[in-house]
């Protein structure tokens, strides 16, 4: 019997800490485990006993990359529990803040975490020597996203201006003009970035995905929507637990989420693109078409192209929202507590993020449940890595490890968020 073990003990350029363990026996891949060893974070337990108004500030702390996603999903759940629907102006302002996070997070992943993989650089710093214009543009884009977050959310990381019902202070239209100027400055680069990503050398891979994403009737879903899937699901947030289940697996501090019935599924850019492409405005679609992005993309490595399309869209959408901006007055709707349970969700940059809270009559949180995108994708990531190993068994351990890490990074996993991520172990015997 020949046995081969590959061990990647600290995955680089992913958010958080995790490892990958692959065991191969006699040329057959026996086991692939994405081990998330970042310690459990207990946020759901911290939330118990806190006031319903504290939820956006506490959940923002789950992630420094996508705090707005946590805030938005949590507020939607609390407002649902209290039976309050926020005014259109508040919804528009939340979407604008969320566009800032999509731009910032996607720019970070596309240019600093994932692009170096395809071009043979160990880091974005090495890439900067040969492609300074790309890295300069990426920094400009990321900065524009940060500015948008600061002007709408009060600061760039862990925004402090959002509250249940709305915001503490609505930015004045003149303040948003500063964000518009920076976005305008990054606009051409954002459009060109689609062709840049589409021109990267991709492995020729097709995989079978069950796509899951939120969908809106009139726009590309970001901050709200109904959940739809390539398997025909069409549900509201209260029905999530009827169709999805989390299970504990021994090798990970993150839970694995599956469709009830056991099927693995995918959330994030590839799912959103496959399910909501028809919701993108014509100029964005034209740019994606010109870059050769197929209507349903099943090559996980090409998710970087979809991220670039979404980055371009988020920038254009932010400019549209600023142009139409009317400050909410008052800045927040009253959300008096009532006993009940509420569920909320939104599209974090890396995929669907669902929250559920039970509160009592004075607003005290009795129970909280948070299902982040990476725990939903974790089982699907393992399946992709297995496919990579099966295709490339002849490669040396170093080369195989690189391919596996690249596959994992395609999913932009946020390990800190999911614990409750990476090192590679390849065991070939």
């Amino acid at each position: 019997m020949t046995e081969r073990i590959l061990v990647a003990t600290a995955l680089a350029r992913v958010e958080g800490e995790g490892a990958l363990h692959v065991r191969v026996r006699d040329g057959v891949v026996e086991d692939v485990r994405l081990r998330i060893y970042e310690p459990p974070r207990f946020f759901e337990a911290f939330l118990r006993g806190r006031a319903h108004t504290e939820v956006p500030d506490i959940t923002a702390r789950i992630c420094g990359i996508c705090p707005v996603a946590y805030q938005t999903s949590s507020m939607a759940a609390i407002e649902a529990a209290c039976g309050v629907e926020v005014p259109a102006e508040v919804r528009a302002l939340r979407r604008l803040l969320y566009c800032g996070e999509w731009i910032e997070s996607h720019a970070l992943h596309v240019f600093f975490l994932h692009a170096p993989d395809f071009l043979g650089y160990a880091s974005a710093f090495e890439m900067a020597r040969d492609h300074p214009a790309v890295v300069e543009g990426a920094l400009r884009l990321k900065k524009a996203g940060n500015t948008l977050m600061r002007l709408t959310g009060g600061r760039e990381i862990h925004p402090v201006n959002v509250r249940v019902g709305g915001v503490y202070r609505a930015p004045a239209p003149a303040e948003l003009a500063a964000a518009a100027a920076e976005l305008e400055g990054a606009r051409e680069f954002a459009r060109e970035a689609i062709a840049f990503t589409a021109g990267l050398p991709f492995p020729d891979v097709e995989e079978d995905f069950h796509f899951v994403a939120l969908r809106e009737p009139d726009r590309y879903a970001i901050e709200s929507g109904r959940l739809v899937s390539s398997g025909g699901l069409d549900i509201g947030p209260d029905e999530y637990e009827d169709h999805f289940a989390e299970e504990h697996v021994e090798h990970s501090t993150a839970l694995h989420s599956r469709l009830r019935g056991g099927e693995r599924y995918l959330v994030g850019p590839l799912a959103r693109w496959a399910l909501n492409r028809d919701r993108l405005p014509a100029p964005v679609l034209a740019a994606a078409d010109a870059a050769g992005l197929e209507p349903v993309c099943t090559n996980p490595f090409r998710s970087i192209v979809v991220r670039a399309v979404e980055m371009h869209y988020a920038l254009e959408e932010a400019l549209r929202l600023i142009g139409a901006y009317e400050p909410p007055d008052p800045p927040a709707a009253a959300v008096p507590p009532r006993a009940g349970t509420g569920c909320g969700w939104s599209e974090a940059p890396r995929g669907l993020l669902w929250h559920r809270y039970a509160i009592d009559g004075d607003g005290t949180i009795l129970d909280a449940r948070i299902v982040p995108p990476t725990s939903q994708n974790q089982a699907r990531i393992e399946q992709s890595v297995r496919a990579v190993v099966e295709r490339h068994l002849a490669l040396s351990d170093d080369e195989l490890q690189h391919r596996c890490e690249q596959a994992v990074r395609s999913y932009d996993p946020c390990i800190s968020c999911a614990t409750h991520f990476l090192r590679l172990e390849i065991d070939r015997g």
Binding site: A12, R13, E15, E17, S123, A124, F125, A128, R129, P132, V135, E136, L139, K143, I157
Partner: protein
């Protein structure tokens, strides 16, 4: 001359850089990725960080990017990476002086340990003196 302190004041001695910046009239950040923006247009920049190289706590290191590894940074982007990126993009200041203060305690909480407090005072004083007489190089 601008003094930029890098560190997280909520992680004890990691707040050494911000403490020096505060005392020397500079600016602070806990995110080294922001350095490129903070020093834009500044010909002479002093960056003060904390470090954990094994030297006695309170030691003031000068000019060696090798010690500028951020023990509390989990994001893989420290001062050394920011400088590397800036040089690749031609956005490094004409003159960049690096200091790192050896920390003792990088645990959770506010407040510097005594030897780091003393080192912060010493470095801030010498930077203020250097700022007042820009023709002289800052002391080693």
């Amino acid at each position: 001359m601008i003094v930029i302190g890098v560190g997280n004041a909520w992680r004890r001695d990691d707040g050494a850089g911000p403490a020096v910046a505060r005392a020397a009239g500079g600016v602070s950040t806990d995110d080294p990725a922001r350095l490129l923006d903070l020093w834009e247009g500044e010909p002479h920049v002093v960056v003060v960080d904390a470090c954990s190289s094994g030297a006695p706590p309170g030691t003031i290191h000068r000019g060696d990017a090798g010690v500028l590894t951020h023990p509390a940074s989990t994001h893989g982007f420290g001062v050394a990476e920011a400088i590397e990126l800036a040089r690749a993009l031609g956005r490094a200041p004409a003159r960049l002086d690096l200091y790192a203060i050896e920390g003792a305690d990088f645990g959770h909480g506010e407040g510097l340990t005594a030897c780091v407090t003393a080192a912060v005072g010493e470095l801030a004083r010498s930077l203020r003196t250097a700022a007042a007489s820009p023709s002289r190089p800052p002391p080693r």
